[in-house]
């Protein structure tokens, strides 16, 4: 149940080269803002036809595509009247330990973004903009589903061990 969406894009390295045949894991709340997880206490219904998880591999151009339901916003108890903007979690590996990435994708124009401490934990505005997908007519299918484009850029693997600093 909910609004069908197609989330697609490319996985690239910092030089714009495709990251081929790499796994992408995705998980999310359902349209009502509820996760199929025993610890989710939000008073919203589960959808018997929606698991909220999936994985895909990029093709040789670094492309991937998920067909899903637009997740709902949901409350969390971080502060008074705190709501997470609609988001999809993504997990990627890339070719090396340094290229590992776990992130969240948001939807354009979401009024909650401005107030979300997790989204705003990224200080740099341009980097923050990387987290917001773009509405995309090209992948929107008439009478069926809205398309959103979300390109993901993995950091370079060469940044590894020389930059190890004791925290």
């Amino acid at each position: 149940m909910g609004e069908r969406v197609i989330v697609s894009g490319r996985v690239l390295d910092e030089d714009g080269r495709p990251v081929r045949q790499t796994v992408i894991e995705a998980w999310q709340a359902n349209a009502a803002g509820r996760y199929l997880h025993e610890n989710d206490q939000h008073d919203a219904p589960l959808d018997p036809n929606f698991t909220g998880c999936g994985h895909a591999f990029t093709d040789d151009e670094g492309r991937y595509r998920f067909v899903t339901i637009k997740p709902g916003a949901y409350p969390w108890r971080n502060h008074g009247n705190a709501w997470r903007p609609a988001h999809i979690h993504f997990s990627l590996f890339g070719p090396a330990f340094a290229t590992r990435l776990v992130t969240q994708m948001y939807f354009p124009g979401d009024a909650l973004l401005e107030f979300d401490p997790i989204f705003n934990s990224v200080q740099d505005a341009e980097a923050r903009a990387r987290l917001v997908s773009a509405f995309d007519w090209e992948t929107t299918i008439p009478e069926t589903a809205l398309g959103y484009r979300f390109d993901i850029v993995l950091r370079g693997k060469e940044e590894t061990p020389m930059e190890v600093h004791v925290r």
Partner: protein, 179 residues
């Protein structure tokens, strides 16, 4: 011009629905000689963390990463979710030595990520092996003060198992690295 990398966001409390399908705690075939690495993830109060994810990345016994020639078939990657007691366990092989960026040889080690709710990014650390003379010359281990170095070295336990606990903060905090 370099593209801006996509930044990290927390894995959150519900990663199990998306990530446990690809969990891998056996990195070697069952008939192969293996080591078992096990331990606890503990918070600042010494309490076990029942909902963390731990990942390891390593070379094979000959010091080759999976993308290198000759290492085909070895995945080099493991992932486990801690159980209700905060425990994790991997069955793997002791990696060989691999070169550091400046070509000095590193001691055998596992590269480790810890992911959990409340952490905006992963924590990065390393597990080294006990009774390993190469530890003394390892370029990364030598970045760490001598008295904290022990937090990165597993302890030998019964049946050839290795014990290694990760302490997230407070007394005896494990050394974490910025990558």
């Amino acid at each position: 011009m370099k593209l801006i990398a996509t930044p990290w966001q927390t894995v959150g409390p519900f990663f199990h629905i998306g990530c446990t399908k690809l969990n891998r705690v056996n990195l070697v075939p069952h008939d192969e000689l293996a080591i078992t690495v096990e331990g606890l993830i503990l918070d600042g109060d010494g309490k076990p963390v029942p909902d963390a994810m731990i990942e390891i990345w390593q070379a094979d016994a000959a010091g080759r990463y999976p993308t290198e020639e000759g290492a085909e078939g070895f995945r080099g990657y493991g992932r486990a979710a801690t159980n209700a007691e905060g425990q994790f366990r991997f069955r793997t092989t002791k990696p060989g030595r691999v070169p550091f960026a400046d070509s000095r040889q590193q001691a055998p080690h596992l590269a480790v990520s810890i992911l959990m709710r409340g952490l905006l990014k992963r924590l990065v650390t390393r597990m080294y092996f006990p009774d390993e003379s190469a530890n003394a010359e390892d370029p990364v281990l030598n970045l760490v003060d001598g008295n904290r170095r022990t937090t990165l070295i597993a302890k030998a336990a019964d049946h050839g198992h290795l014990n290694w606990d990760v302490i997230l903060q407070g007394n005896g905090e494990t050394v974490f690295f910025d990558l």
